[in-house]
Amino acid sequence: MKISPAEDSQAMARKVGIIAVLLAVASICEAVAIFHPISESHRSAALELFSPVAGSFSSLEEAYEALRTFEVLGIEKKPDVKDHTCNSVVDTLSLMSSNSRDLYHALRVNGLLKCEISNEALTGIVSRLKDAVKDATSLLDYYHSIGGLLLIKDQSSEVDVLLENADGTLRSIKALSQSDGRWRYSSSNPESSTRAAGLAFETISGVISLAASAIDETLIGTLKKDIMKLFDSIEKYDDGSYYFDDKHIDASGHQGPLSATSAVVRGLTAFASTSESLNIPEDKILGLARFFLGIGVPGNSKDLYYQIDTLSHLENNRVSVPLVLSLPATVLSLTSKDKLKVKVSTVLGSSAPPLSVKLMQVFSSGSKDASVLNKDLHFDPKEAIYSLDDLPEGVDIGEYVFAFEIVLSDPEYKRKFATGGRTKVPVHVTGVVKVDNAKAAVLEGDVVESEKKLDLPGKNDLALSANHLQKLRLSFMLTTPFGKPFKPHQALLKLRHETGVEHIFVVENSGRHFEITLDFLGLVEKFFYLSGQYNIDLTVGDAVMENSFLEPLGSVELDLPKAPEKATQPPPQAANPYLRYGPKAEIAHIFRAPEKRPPQEVSFAFLGLVLVPFLAFLVGLLRLGVNFKNFPTSAIPATFAILFHGGIAAVLILYVLFWLKLDLFTTLKTLGLIGIFLMFVGHRTLSHLASTSAKLKSA
């Protein structure tokens, strides 16, 4: 998405600067980033992602996520959606087969929609949930049943929800904890997760607030230690966000840092609301808020729910409320004398308590040291913006990191709000770069033959001519609005031949002075010995230069010597650059030509010819006087003899069938059968013949 700044007009250069802020984030030292509080884009995303299908949500869990997000963002609920969902809630609550999980989700939705549920129904649900607490074995059982009881406590004051054996319940939940601060989901499953820890904290806070009698203080103390231990496993990004991540996928399928961190924050804030003095360092709270703000506007409904729900918990928590410092515009133009504006608000965008913002340091790009300025920003109550009328001295065009500090007016608030010490923000300062003293000259040796002055940036129309023994020199000077030398990101000279062949050169500088000399004697080969008219373009551009330009300067008529025999040809220029990616010539597959076969008559003639020796054989046999005298006459030997000849004939017929259509396996099988038969029969026949001839011999 990065656009080459050289081709922009003044208005676009500022947009480029905003995009380039993201690049500056990575390049400048750590913890430099900008976090914006929740805004209109989140509201429109919520409306888009949470649209109910056919007027109702697919499950009560999803209904809760949608309704909660709408409530936090201040979006109105549609009345028909409310009716549909309320019906679903009432049905779930009255169904005897609902387990504690369904009841929990239904009660959550009821808390937002305030459907009509009678007190008797609620009492019945309370007793079911209390039984569920007694029979609970896994963490999620406890979570749903305790959560349900807590919700009923908030929704109706007449129903009695207090737990008798709160200590025992606490201990059984605590039994699932692990030494590294994580929790297991159940005693049978050894896998632990951070998300489970968050759920456990929330459940335990619920037990504490539902306890009929006071809880043992040591239990609460160990719980505080568990929370601190869990915070040892917190992870950090370079921009100052803190988060928790689950290494394995846990049983319910939720995975990823969002769900884990969200669960921990919910547990943390729930616990903090039941008892004071939870010492979490304020940079961690601010880091958690930055993590959720840093994801921008999520693309799916689950992530958006996690983000909005967690931020709403952070907004009003009793540990410390994070304050977000953001700049509505991080690109300031010297030309239009932009003022530096800073906004401080809570994560959801509400106003902060009275405070003052100071600009402490200004780091120019790459440097780690800067003098301490300690400038106060002026507060405009109408727009709730802190601004600085003039930029500090010496802030010329370029990329900077501004370090701000928030000072709360009332020292009481120091414990309540997390301001995060020094906040570093990347800022781009843009301005108009003066281009002067621009001239183009043709040199013969070192003597200037012809020189023309150029008007940059503006229209020029040079018409120079040179041969291969001369040089072309272009020079100009660049100065910032404050008069300092400036080195732009791009300073390029392009020569384009009439056939389309291009050559690009970088213009070097020394301080303010930019100069390039093209010695054509050395460039003859590079230019492919092409003489003719070359168009000259000059590009000077940078992100902070408001008047970046790409200007045609005119043309130079080059006279180069003729190309020798072995010179390389210039690359072919496509007539239309898109043709390079067009379809190529079609390749027709050449099939193997079939073998030449003889004409059929020849084949038939030879077929007949081959049969001739067979006929001759038969004739010869007759002439020799073959007879069947030895053929056995008596019945049994005769049958065997006939079967013998029959067997051989069968084998030959089998072979013909094999040639025509059978495969080897069937042939071999059949051959085996006939062969066995033939062996038996042949043996009988031949031994009979043998014995007959032996008898004759002896006789």
Binding site: V602, G620, G625, L689
Partner: protein, 117 residues
Amino acid sequence: MGRSPATKDDAQALFHSLRSAYSATPTNLKIIDLYVVFAVFTALIQVVYMAIVGSFPFNSFLSGVLSCVGTAVLAVCLRIQVNKENKEFKDLPPERAFADFVLCNLVLHLVIMNFLG
């Protein structure tokens, strides 16, 4: 000198003596000889055909020729074994030799039919 008529007469005399000697052979051997001649002629005709039209389905040509040649060879073996003047095979009954001939021919022709294609 009269050399050519002499050689001619010698050749004729040789031919006649061979012929008379041959007629003394037993009939069954003559049958086998006739069979061999038949097989060889069939092979020759197939070679002539290949020479004329080219060896395109070479496997077919080979199987045809080798069938003839193979059966001729087996017949020669049979003749050796059946010939009563052969002292080596005195104890071998001719029926047994014939059975071997039949079996070997059947195996040969199985292979030939497979290779014929």
